[in-house]
């Protein structure tokens, strides 16, 4: 990471701390904001957050590793989460899964070479009546079939 990138990240985190406060309850919100923008929380960002909140860096890392929507390693620009819980599974998740894998040439847990998409599984999205369902970043898509799923992913930039 270049020095100027570090500086801008520090400034960004300082602003988040100004907005959410420097008490412990702000931690998750700050992490979510960094995650939303950068798609991951770098080790530098983690230590800056720890410094400004006066907690230990390992605590920040611990929290990130606990919550499945936070991560400390870079991911694709878009994170696609396909629901694998029972109702979506029964509604045809497997077919969607293999179509998406074929189309993108990667398997779940991986990121496309161009960094466009990371594929992940997720647990129940609360769309059991409209499954199979998936999240693309924070948007939810339902009633998927192999074709619509692939079309949605092809539109993602």
């Amino acid at each position: 990471m270049f020095e100027y990138e570090k500086n801008s990240l520090t400034e960004e985190i300082e602003n988040l701390v100004k907005h959410y406060g420097s008490d412990r309850p702000a931690l998750l919100q700050i992490l979510q904001a960094v995650q939303r923008k950068h798609k991951y929380i770098s080790d530098f960002a983690q230590q800056e957050i720890a410094r400004l909140l006066n907690i230990h860096p390992v605590e920040v890392y611990s929290i990130i590793s606990f919550y499945s929507f936070l991560c400390s390693e870079p991911k694709g620009r878009n994170i696609v989460r396909l629901c694998r819980t029972i109702s979506c599974d029964m509604a045809g998740k497997d077919k969607v899964e293999s179509a998406v894998k074929r189309e993108l040439g990667i398997t779940f847990g991986e990121t496309t070479n161009d960094g466009r998409i990371t594929l992940e599984f997720t647990n129940c999205l609360g769309m059991c009546d409209q499954g199979p369902a998936m999240l693309v970043n924070d948007k939810v898509y339902t009633h998927l079939n192999p074709e619509t799923a692939v079309n949605i992913l092809n539109e993602v930039k």
């Binding site: 008490d23 412990r24 309850p25 702000a26 931690l27 998750l28 919100q29 992490l31 979510q32 995650q35 611990s62 929290i63 606990f66 919550y67 499945s68 929507f69 936070l70 694998r84 819980t85 029972i86 109702s87 599974d89 029964m90 997720t122 647990n123 129940c124 999205l125 609360g126 769309m127 059991c128 009546d129 409209q130 499954g131 999240l135 924070d138 948007k139 939810v140 898509y141 339902t142 009633h143 079309n151 949605i152 539109e155």
Partner: protein, 406 residues
């Protein structure tokens, strides 16, 4: 391409009955705290998240607590597989939920309410924020709400980040405080020592929605629905093998087979009541009723028809728990893995009955010795599916349902 979450016009006896925004709040301010608690007590409302703790008791304990700050937290971390009623309430009936939170705040003497919205529902964040802004504009939130002197109250929304266990109320509080979502030791309970150490009520979305109706229409009115032990009605999230999946408002006490008819389920073999942490009910027991006295549920109903492989279903559930356990206590962290090892052995036809019995006994230990509801309920499906479908699963050496038919 845009998100495509379906919404529709609904009707029902209680929750989906007529209600205009702010009616409940206005009525609550007229009634006063004592009367609200009285109506709530009469209504017999129990927590709709699944545990079924009497709402009036929870509120009374918090209202009586001596503290300079109190909190009302709305648990919108709906994560139980097969549950999506809170999604419908928040998207289509936010007035019920938010009015309920304001009423709770007024009753227990809290100045702030927090909605813990699961990360998966982030797409609702903006509409809900907009809704809150409207409420502030109309003085349904803010200072001296609707002219009531010294009733200052506001609501903030906090997002989760993908952890099912945060639906457990103390884990939710930990998460709000910026920690890992690891459930706390109880006692002390949140009504005494909750968010930031202050007395806190944590209520399910549906509970708060029901409160708005109860305050407006009275506890007696509410009690007319349902059974004596399970008053009112319930939102059921129905999914799986049926023609009409979706959210249904039905009175408590309805038989499982009646529900199956309503949602047009055919050739049903089993119904999972209460989601992955609930119990699996076989065809022979479809006369059982849904209610706290018999088959209790937070609302999740998953239907399996004749063609489903119940071992596969069970495996899906266990995978869920292994991943979603917070990992702090021994029975849940390791117990679920052991149950999964059992499932794999069954799949491979490589098990002994004494080993399976050991695992069932282990399941019973998990039910009583785990730290929170997640670990206490995760063996439910293991025990109930193996018991109800031993012929299909165990007698075929794990070869599943194909062999049963033959």
């Amino acid at each position: 391409m845009k998100s495509n979450v379906e919404t529709k016009k609904r009707s029902g006896p209680v929750v989906f009955s007529e209600y205009q925004r702010s009616e409940g709040i206005k009525k609550a301010l007229q009634l006063g705290r004592e009367n609200i608690l009285f109506e709530l007590k009469i209504s017999g409302l129990k927590g709709r998240g699944g545990a079924g703790f009497p709402t009036a008791t929870k509120w009374m304990l918090t209202a009586a607590a001596n503290a300079n700050k109190k909190f009302i937290v709305c648990n919108a971390d709906e994560g139980e597989p097969g549950t999506f009623k809170d999604r419908v309430l928040l998207l289509e009936y936010p007035e019920l939920v938010f009015d309920g939170i304001v009423i709770a705040g007024f009753t227990i003497g809290a100045a702030s309410g927090i909605i813990y919205l699961r990360g998966e529902y982030e797409y609702m964040l903006q509409p809900l924020e907009d809704y809150l802004a409207e409420m502030r504009k109309d003085n349904l939130l803010g200072k001296n709400i609707l002219g009531k002197e010294n009733f200052n109250f506001d609501i903030s929304i906090r997002l989760g980040s993908g952890a099912y266990v945060c639906g457990e109320e103390t884990a939710l509080i930990e998460s709000l405080e910026g920690f890992r979502g690891e459930p706390r030791n109880r006692p002390p309970y949140p009504v005494d020592t909750g968010y930031l150490g202050y007395p806190t009520v944590v209520n399910n979305v549906e509970t708060l929605a029901s409160v708005s109706h109860i305050v407006l229409k009275g506890g007696e009115w509410f009690k007319k629905h349902g059974t004596s032990k399970s008053t009112g009605s319930k939102l059921f999230s129905v999914s799986g093998d049926c023609e009409k999946p979706g959210v249904y408002e039905l009175p408590w006490g309805i038989k499982i087979k009646e529900l199956l008819e309503i949602v047009e389920a055919k050739n049903t073999k089993a119904v999972q009541v209460g989601g992955a942490s609930g119990t699996c009910i076989a065809k022979s027991q479809f006369d059982r009723i849904l209610g706290y006295e018999d088959a209790a549920t937070g609302g999740s109903i998953i239907i399996f028809n004749e063609n489903r492989d119940m071992l596969k279903v069970l495996k899906n559930f266990m995978e869920f728990f292994i991943e979603e356990s917070c990992g702090q206590c021994t029975p849940c962290r390791i117990g679920n893995i052991k149950l999964m090892e059992g499932i794999i052995k069954i799949e491979n036809g490589d098990f002994t009955f004494s080993y399976i019995n050991n695992l069932k006994e282990l399941g019973k230990t998990m039910q009583v010795a785990s730290k929170c509801g997640l670990g206490q309920s995760s063996p439910n499906s293991f025990i109930s599916i193996l018991e109800n479908f031993s012929e299909e699963i165990l007698h075929t050496n794990g070869k599943g349902k194909e062999n049963v038919k033959a």
